[in-house]
Symmetry: C2
Subunit: 290 residues, 2 copies
């Protein structure tokens, strides 16, 4: 099965009737609505690609790590879209979870997805119980305190925001969880894989800032101009568009160079190049059109 097929199958299984079917029906509907159909699934595909490059000795655990990263990403989108934060009514081209199901169920759906992510790791570790603590730790670090995506969001509630900490936590942390989680699932030391995740995450954030400044809401499936409207820090606001575009190219190069020695190093570099082209083209073409 290809990476996309494996990932969707792992997500299907985590949210299957067998796993959650007896939960309150609207909660089941809300969590599935938050996860299917997905966005680009960039983080979990990265996780599986790293596991493969490391010689993947336990595909069940890599699948679980990838699914957990995506479930946590979806949970963060559900909570971030709520009125206490962005108040976004649209996500991935359809009504956001709170707009469709109400705030109470959106809050619970996010909570349920966080818990489900960690349960998925436990289920997937049957063949390699000795790796579970390591995978759980790096995935948890990407989402929790002190510097995961929850912390990134919480920097928006502070007066004085260290911009680098904010950006790294808000986006880089979960990408680092994806690369490090993939390596840990394969039984390798996750630490050398941190830089790759952080670089791709930072590139992705810059591309997102460019799209927010100039993108077409029809194409990207969410409203634009939110950074200015919500007075959020952004690369475009800080550096301007030309410098942001240069920074984006530089970060992608840095990511490719940072792939640690491993049996699949060459093909992983090629893959990252190909994947990056898609979001670079989108972000840079809309800049040209602006």
């Amino acid at each position: 099965m290809n990476l996309d097929g494996r990932l969707e199958s792992a997500l299907d299984s985590a949210l299957s009737d067998e796993a959650i079917g007896t939960a309150p029906p609207r909660l089941v509907e809300a969590v599935r609505y938050a996860v299917f159909p997905g966005g680009a699934r960039v983080r979990p595909r990265l996780c599986l690609s790293v596991a493969a490059a490391c010689g993947e000795s336990d595909p069940s655990l890599s699948d679980a790590a990838a699914a957990a990263v995506e479930l946590l990403h979806c949970a963060s989108l559900v909570h971030d879209d709520m009125p206490a934060f962005d108040g976004a009514a649209v996500r991935r081209g359809k009504a956001s979870v709170h707009a469709r199901f109400g705030e109470a169920l959106a809050l619970l759906a996010g909570d349920a997805l966080i818990v489900c992510a960690f349960q998925t790791l436990a289920k997937g570790a049957g063949q390699s119980p000795g790796r579970l603590a390591n995978v759980l730790s790096v995935v948890g670090r990407g989402v929790g305190m002190p510097a995961g995506i929850v912390a990134g969001q919480a920097w928006e509630c502070e007066q004085n925001v260290p911009l680098k900490d904010y950006q790294r936590a808000k986006t880089g942390a979960l990408f680092a969880a994806a690369t490090m989680g993939g390596a840990a699932a394969a039984g390798d030391d996750p630490e050398p894989w941190r830089m790759l995740g952080e670089s791709i995450g930072e590139a992705y954030q810059v591309a997102d800032d460019l799209l927010d400044a100039n993108g077409d809401p029809e194409i990207i499936g969410k409203p634009v101009g939110r950074d200015v409207a919500l007075d959020r820090p952004s690369a475009v606001r800080e550096l301007g568009q030309n410098e942001s575009a240069l920074a984006l190219r530089r970060l992608v190069e840095q990511a490719i160079e940072s792939v640690p020695p491993c049996q699949g190093q060459t093909s992983l570099r090629k893959l990252i190049e190909l994947e990056s082209e898609h979001f670079m083209r989108l972000a840079l073409s809309c800049r040209a059109a602006a």
Copy 2:
């Protein structure tokens, strides 16, 4: 160290400067505010008592399981108090987290505590990596889908509520996680410990319903009369006060009888009897005064 000392020390460590000190300062303040000073810490003390009764071969993992259960309980209180649910301004005799820090930080503090609970398990499993998946599974089941406390809360968003499922998920599930988590942390099969947790949880829910109907808000540290105000199911509304009081006594007896054979069976039974007396006296005395 006694159980209370061990538990507070485990919670201190999970939320120490070393663990979370570089997170955004108001987030750090909010999560500590949610956890300290605690309530009765009934669930984690139960977890540690079961681990001890099972011959506790790895105190670090029992401490982690107990701390995780309490962190998850605190997270659920933070989210349940928010305006989308109970809209409670007071908790444990002080302003609730959202009343003090705002909705955005309350949402994030709850999320951060959930993640922290699972990270705490991973950290605590260093000596017994083979037990982590089991402990994580039973703790996760108590809080997530299909029948943990998140599901219990989600039943309040449904038209047709199976009362037994609702009560079991809303309160029983996390008590079952406490007893089963304690057994799993000690390396024992957790399943025989489910009934004990569910019985104590049900007793606790009936006691809580009695307090909500008749308690003194000064003594119990939160407003009363909420079940009627929010049209929530409750034992008192369903059975009346006399029957509820009888049910409470019966459930405590059932809990004591259900303690499975283990090396500390006699002392655990004695302990549960003593602990239950406290909340029975509180719930039944306020009934007498009503």
